[in-house]
């Protein structure tokens, strides 16, 4: 086991998959000569060359469209959106083509495509560059959506995403590239569509994913000082959504808080809460609570931005409210 950062985990997964399979290649804005806007593909261009590490024009639709086409011919492109906010410029290709081609042509087309997209707020980039729109993308059958919160999952899920014959949107949070964690030695994958118990506990269930796993863990540490043991379920994949461990945990704790960085309305929390009520209503000892971003376009001002984003203290407060 080695302790590495999220950035290193993502980078290692890409590197190892490109070494393993000649058909894997990267395309996107500044992925090559520059080394990636977030330095994830630093050194790739020199090692793999311009054929497999392809700098593109600023043309999001063409990036995803070309990646779809290449995937249809049997290649395994990893397309990078510089940020998930720019993925809106390719939204049609992601949700209307990528997610639909296999089904709509009766199974003839395969789109083994990975779209990497960093998002998240907290960097004073203001409203257009700070979003966490994960739930929107998870709305569409045909697309797989994963959003890891630990280096171990980041590496294993990216490898699984590259190897599956289905299209995967791989959502990163740009503020946790420095987050460190242990990863297994050697080659391994983490299955897509499997959530897991991240931290065992018995008093309440915290359901979360991506950056909020770390926040939830910090909240759990604080609560532990008061003798409150929360169980954290890391969804890891939003579609397919694996509710198994969530329901199992809820049946034990009878209380749940769902934590996400995106807006609350029509969000991941709304979906998870609805499913808890549908599948385990009789086990509820308190209403399910949600911690999410305030319903406002994120402001530039540092204090205002932090006010709008979910904080560790919000999670602690919500857990105490359901107890």
């Amino acid at each position: 086991m080695a302790k590495i950062t999220m950035r290193e985990a993502i980078s290692q997964a890409l590197w190892e998959e490109m070494e393993r399979d000649e058909n894997v290649f990267i395309l996107g804005e500044e992925v090559g000569v520059w080394g990636g806007s977030y330095a994830v593909t630093k050194g790739f261009y020199d090692h793999f060359g311009e054929k497999r590490v392809r700098d593109t024009p600023i043309s999001e639709a063409a990036i995803i469209g070309a990646a779809i086409g290449a995937a249809l011919t049997g290649l395994r492109p990893v397309a990078e959106m510089m940020t998930i906010n720019f993925a809106f410029s390719a939204f049609d290709h992601i949700v209307n083509e990528t997610a639909k081609l296999h089904y709509m042509f009766g199974g003839q087309f395969k789109v083994p495509l990975v779209i990497r997209a960093p998002g998240g707020g907290g960097r004073q980039l203001a409203a257009t560059h700070s979003q966490t729109p994960d739930a929107i993308f998870a709305h569409f059958p045909g697309l797989k959506v994963v959003a890891p919160g630990t280096p171990e999952d980041a590496k294993g899920l990216l490898k699984a995403a590259i190897r599956t014959d289905d299209p995967v949107l791989y959502i990163e949070n740009a503020t946790i590239y420095q987050l460190r964690g242990e990863v297994p030695d050697g080659d391994y994958t983490i299955p897509i569509g499997k959530s897991k118990i991240y931290r065992p506990g018995k008093h309440a269930t915290l359901v979360t994913y991506s950056k909020m796993v770390d926040f939830s863990n910090k909240a759990a540490d604080q609560l532990a000082q008061d003798g409150i043991e929360v169980e954290i379920v890391d969804l890891r994949s939003l579609r397919p959504l694996d509710m198994g461990p969530v329901i199992e945990s809820f049946k034990k704790t009878n209380r749940a808080v769902i934590v996400e960085e995106g807006w609350q309305s029509f969000g991941v929390g709304a979906e998870v809460a609805a499913r808890i009520y549908e599948e385990a209503f009789d086990y509820a000892d308190a209403p399910v609570k949600r911690v999410a971003q305030k319903e406002v376009p994120l402001p530039y001002n540092r204090n205002l931005e932090q006010m709008a984003l979910p904080q560790v203290a919000d999670i602690v407060k919500a857990v105490k409210e359901v107890l």
């Binding site: 290649f25 054929k51 392809r54 593109t56 024009p57 043309s59 639709a61 063409a62 995803i64 469209g65 070309a66 990646a67 779809i68 086409g69 290449a70 995937a71 249809l72 011919t73 049997g74 290649l75 492109p77 049609d92 290709h93 209307n96 083509e97 081609l101 296999h102 089904y103 709509m104 042509f105 009766g106 199974g107 003839q108 087309f109 395969k110 083994p112 059958p141 045909g142 797989k144 599956t164 014959d165 289905d166 299955p191 897509i192 569509g193 499997k194 579609r239 397919p240 694996d242």
Partner: protein
Amino acid sequence: MEKQDYLSIYHQMVLIRRLEEEAAQLYQQGKIGGFLHLYIGQEAVSTGIISARKPQDRIITAYRDHGVAINVGIPAKQVMAELLGKTTGMSKGRGGSMHMADTQKNFWGGHAVVGAHLPIAAGLALGDQYAGRDGVTICMFGDGATNIGYFHEAVNLSKVWKLPVLWVCENNQYGMGTSVERASAVSEIRRKADGYNIRNERVNGMEVMEVHAAAERVLETVRGGEGPYFLEVTTYRFRGHSMGDPERYREQEEVKCWEKEDPIGIYRDILLFQQKIAETELAELERQVMTEIKEAVEYAESSPEPEPQTLFENIYVDETVGG
């Protein structure tokens, strides 16, 4: 070209015409649902282009795709079955009129969002370039598609990456009901390719042999590694945009004028007077087409509806995880 090749082209054009006429009737009888866009009047375009391609050349087009389906050699009965939404259609009744494809015949759809398939075409070509194959991707689209961002992103990328793409703009004078002059800053569409330093020319799309000759010539230059080429093929649709078109935007005089340029009539004369093919031989072929259409309708109508339990098939390739 041998006599058989000339006759094959005639057979395809007449088959498309009769298939579309039959489809219009079935639509009015309520047997075909959704939208139905007929290719009547434009038969010489796809017939001329596709008769010039080699088996390794991919073809991708927009939603007016029945002609291409016939030209690539999909039996009329299978096209008709897809129109009727039956399991025996190419897309198993999941795609319908606008989403026909047959990857075995290198036909990659049938895409219904205007312009969205252009970036995908660039990607198909990238796949061949990447693998060192000598296939050319032929991408057909309407004049209306040249006003959407996808066009500009895809065409630019094709030149930057020197992709083996033949861009074929079917200029049928109208994007739905808006004339080229009212929608495009240049009405000679090929000039848009000048902006991307892509070789281009305009050909008469009512003369199948002109289209064929141009396609044959330019396909080889693209195959030779000289990058993309842009063909503007001028044509006219004799019917409305789709079955629900009140045609308020054009005079019947204009339609009648173009109908004098009927591509099938023009080609028939070439066969009779230049190729000295006997009228009785053409009449026999026309009778065969009528039989083919009759059998196609019988086949489609007697084909089974998709089983209800197949509703969820082919959402993912890897179905081991749920939706």
